[in-house]
Symmetry: C2
Subunit: 221 residues, 2 copies
């Protein structure tokens, strides 16, 4: 990248980011910190999973801190993804104040700041200056402190469900057996139960009884 800590490097597009900075993400050893408005950042189909897997392999217990805006839970899929991240051990928090610039801080030595898209291509600036890192980090931690834990945030607010999920909740709430409900929806029993299991995760329920309770208390019925 650069021998001079005070020279920032700007990378254009996710391709270049992955090529030239991918090893930095995978190489975190002390602490991995990340702030973003939602989950669409770092789309990079396939590659992203590889980097994460690599990092998890080489630094299993690595403390990971992820800060998002509520937008990161704007649909079922995103929320499920976030839950999965937390399940794997990352500390995830949600803050209401906007996080326009995606930020990553690796081991308190490297920061990657994402800029807005220029002509459809996003620019990423890799920073190593200790003073800058410190400044960015302190801003991050200040926001982190005021943010709500993912679990806590989710408890206070119903998940955003699509039409099918709401329909399934309705059928469950009416006491239908899986066999009946799946037929009514034109789904196989297998798929129906897959759906139910997914919904239980979103409702943070460990049993169907609890799910029924949660669904009602969140006003989803």
């Amino acid at each position: 990248m650069s021998l001079d800590l005070d020279t920032n490097v700007t990378l254009r597009g996710e391709d270049e980011l992955v090529r030239r900075a991918g090893h930095l993400f995978a190489g975190a050893r002390e602490r991995f910190v990340c702030a973003a408005a939602d989950l669409r950042t770092w789309a990079m189909p396939g590659v992203r999973e590889q980097i994460v897997a690599e990092r998890r392999r080489s630094a299993p217990g690595l403390p990971v801190f992820k800060l998002y805006n509520p937008r990161a839970l704007a649909d079922e899929e995103s929320e499920r993804h976030l839950i999965e991240i937390a399940r794997r051990g990352a500390r995830v928090r949600i803050c209401a104040t906007p996080l326009p610039h995606e930020t990553i801080i690796i081991d308190d030595r490297i920061a990657v700041l994402a800029g807005p898209a220029a002509q459809g291509v996003r620019e990423y600036t890799v920073v190593r200056s200790p003073a800058v890192i410190q400044g960015v980090a302190s801003l991050f931690w200040a926001t982190w402190e005021s943010a709500a834990d993912l679990a806590e945030f989710r408890r206070s607010r119903p998940p955003v469900l699509n039409d099918e999920s709401r329909e399934i909740l309705r059928l469950l709430g009416d006491g239908l057996k899986d066999e009946t409900a799946s037929r009514r929806l034109g789904l196989s029993l297998r798929t129906y139960r897959r759906r139910v299991a997914e919904i239980l995760i979103l409702l943070d329920a460990g049993s169907r009884f609890q799910a029924g309770r949660r669904a009602h208390e969140l006003g989803l019925l």
Copy 2:
């Protein structure tokens, strides 16, 4: 009893009632009508069941109409009993206006009116006068019309649960598995599930999910 339709016969105590009028209850063929404040009337352990069984055997499809005060659902056991009666085919309704005098009308020909207890012994008057029967019946049907169906009434109001049942609901609502919950309550798995099944009946739920929903919407959690 009496050859003269216009001679009322008064029986003292349930013993005498059963001895001298039991066959009337069992012998209903057209319609069996009954109004009472609660279920403690006609206690008669054992005998009562026999009479009912006898009647159900000899007149299987007999229309049975039962009108009660909300007091008849004042505890789990009573409510369960009422549900059972309804399940067996009787039409059961609940009216808020007091029904102080227990009344039975058999086939529109015989009425049994219970009076208050005199020195601990209740008196029952058996009436056959057509005019009286008509009068009593029309009063009954007027009240019946204004009363709410048992199912409807129960839907609008939480069942009265004892401490143990509420505790079980709490454990279910927290998502505990049967194994864990039963151990925590010091019950066998079998008994715990018995309890849960009983509660599901009271909640009119056909699945645990529905029970969870009902429990929450009735404010039982």
